[in-house]
């Protein structure tokens, strides 16, 4: 949160989004190490330059004033990105994976960023979603969209087991409870034969209106698009829903209560806020979103196994929220793209890739200790903060 006063500028903001899209296209398509290296250097310079010219703050201001328009611009930009790679299976898979992780991280953001409930079992709830869609797909004929919802519901319901211990403890101890759950979850899956044991389970693909998402889109031999296009569009849709929902939540009195509880429990209790209630609501709703993301991820990958959902993966989810800037869904979305895409682009340096990736993350946090896009002042109404 900078104290500099920045004036909103629609042209600059739209140009930045356009530039960002062009950069994403170049970066995703980049195959050789020089290109990737130069792109990384370029983006570093661009970020340095934008902070010099106060562009980021102007973007924030523009977002505050022309909120709907800017959000629409970003959706259009993502659609363009997806359309650009319409027949490139791998790039679409990566874009979709980033969006799925963004949905899960938004769920975690409600817990962490709004109500201040720590959750180090994100991957476990992601796993619950995956396994729900595996089991329901195998034994029932429920429509895929219903399975996605049920994935979220099951995650939320299983999460209620944790509510009591999480509410009774606080701070580090609450974190410990979720860490224990995360480890327990993986062990449980490994010894449980009904759920496939360590080998895992196959998951049926998403089917919508009779259209199987695992078939390529072909129009009269001339046009062929990757089947991941459907998944990418579905993920974008879900991400938009999740985003709108959290934004509404944040702006409502519920969000206000959550913020107040995070900042000072005692004071909130004095003013009559039901701390246990709002913490449980945040925890449950967050788990619901993570579960939905998991259910979709499972259907896209077609296969789930316990080793996808280790404690390490939970840490990745947490790191997305921290890197993005706690409490800001835009930051979370940006960070999810970085955390998912960057290690993948570093495949060219093989076994050293996580080393370099770690260094990049440390550098980002060194220069932006509050995350990439820190949370801004509360904006009660779209366009309400006229400069």
């Amino acid at each position: 949160m900078s104290n500099k006063i920045a004036s909103p500028s629609l042209p600059i903001s739209l140009a930045v989004i356009a530039l960002g899209t062009a950069f994403a296209i170049l970066f995703l398509g980049a195959e050789n190490e020089y290109l990737i290296g130069s792109l990384l250097v370029f983006v570093t310079l661009a970020v340095v330059a934008s902070s010099k010219f106060n562009i980021l703050n102007r973007m924030y201001a523009t977002f505050a004033v022309h909120e709907v328009l800017m959000q629409a611009a970003i959706v259009v930009a993502t659609l363009l990105l997806v359309a650009w790679f319409y027949d490139d299976h791998f790039s679409l898979l990566m874009i979709t994976a980033a969006m799925v992780y963004a949905i899960a991280a938004i769920g975690l953001n409600i817990q962490f960023g709004y109500a201040g409930v720590l959750n180090f079992a994100g991957a476990a709830f992601l796993g619950i979603g995956c396994y729900t869609s595996a089991v329901l797909g195998q034994y029932t004929n429920l429509p895929s969209m219903l399975i996605l919802c049920l994935g979220g519901l099951v995650a939320a319901v299983i999460g209620t087991i944790l509510i009591l211990p999480v509410l009774r403890t606080s701070g580090h101890y609450a974190a410990l409870v979720t860490i224990a759950f995360s480890i327990l979850f993986k062990t449980f899956l490994e010894v449980n034969d009904v759920l496939g044991g360590p080998q895992g389970l196959n998951v049926k693909p998403t089917v919508l209106f009779g259209w199987n998402f695992n078939t390529n889109i072909e129009i009269r031999d001339e046009f062929e698009a990757s089947f991941y296009l459907c998944y990418a569009l579905l993920a974008l849709f879900l991400l938009a829903l999740a985003f709108i929902f959290t934004r509404r939540l944040e702006r409502s009195w519920i969000g206000l209560s959550m913020d107040s509880i995070r900042l000072d429990e005692t004071a909130s209790a004095c003013y009559g806020l039901n701390i246990a209630l709002w913490k449980s609501v945040a925890f449950t709703f967050g788990n619901f979103l993570i579960g939905v993301a998991g259910a979709m991820y499972g259907q896209m990958l077609g296969y789930v196994a316990p080793s996808n959902f280790t404690f390490g993966d939970s840490l990745i989810l947490v790191s997305i929220v921290l890197l993005g800037g706690i409490g800001n869904p835009w930051g979370v979305i940006t960070a999810a793209s970085i955390v998912i895409l960057l290690p993948e682009k570093f495949q060219i340096i093989q076994e050293y890739r996580f080393l370099l990736y770690g260094i990049v993350v440390i550098f980002i946090l060194l220069y932006r200790p509050k995350g990439l896009l820190p949370r801004q002042l509360r904006n009660y109404l779209p366009g309400g903060m006229k400069a």
Binding site: Y34, L35, F90, P198, L301, S307, E351
Partner: protein, 389 residues
Amino acid sequence: MQKTFRILTFLVMVCLVGSLLTTAALAKEKVKVAFIGPLTGGVSANGIGGRNSAQLAVNLRNADPSAKYEYEMISLDDECKPNIGVQVATKAAADKHVIAAATHYCSAVAMGAVGTYNKFGLPVIVWGAVLPDVTYGNDYKEVHRVNGTMINQNQVAAKFMRDMGYKTWVIIHDTTDYGKGHNTYFTKELEKVGGKILGRFGVTADQQDFTAELTKVKQLNPDVVYFGGLTNIGVRIRLQMEKLGVDAQFQGTSGIKSDAFLNTLGPLSEGALSFQEGAPIDKLPGGKYFTEQYDKAGFERGHEAYGPFAFAAMNLILDTIEDVGPNRKKVRKSLNKVNGYESIVGEISFDDHGQNKVAAITKYVGQDGKWVVWEDSEYGNGKRKLKKL
């Protein structure tokens, strides 16, 4: 300030254009193949060993003037995680220039990724994953495997034990995937060669006391106690067998072939049997050639147990491409028909699921506190005798 920024931007643009141009300039007749394995994480030593070995196969081929194509190997890291496995499998398979791939060390990853290969029609040879279902759990024509599985291990074990003259068995297995798999496949193979199973006991992987099970075993009085599980409970069972006076031959699986088993048991490990996929490098037909070349190439890290399999898998891919040309469908068809192919890990013949039928399995016996290859041991040449013979 603005000026420096402009100069920097210009430089970046030059870099960009430059790198694009170099890619274009290198465009020669090239064939791409892929390697996938765990290059980071807990089992990265095996993955890197496999990667180096596959790279060695490609390098040797490129150095060979009679090779028709110039090969380029892209290697991808699956982190031993199924979701990442599916990602990199998609990356390799969706790239139409990649003709074939040597893939996966971790079974769960292979299980997740085989569907992707089938979907995109990329022929692959598995070089390390041992779970039978990777090849037998599906009908994918794209998937092959050079290394053996639990099935091969138990096939060799059952035949070997029957040939020795043993007739009756009791099976003790742990209730993990590993133990249960061994129970199933050993039973199946033993039925084929006509052995008799008197009893079967499932034990949990952290059980301490086996008195109940072993008292029953003593009553049944089998020739052999077959143990499907890992070292820690293997040691306990062997100790308690002695305590209760169960006088049967102890036959283990690859799970007990560890130094810990020998050291903890001391003299009691004498004559214990174990079977393992692969072979010590000097026992492989091409082992000497492989180690020589590997050392010459100067890799930083060792090739580990499955390196030779990765080398053999990659070599088989390259030979097939040389033979039928860089075309996925032709390579797949040709790989399906591989029969009696000579490789450094011995003869390779794929069955109708793409599994190598004559996979190398080595028999080990505990002798003077060491695991000795059966053929070289004093048991093998008749100086010492196993129990109940």
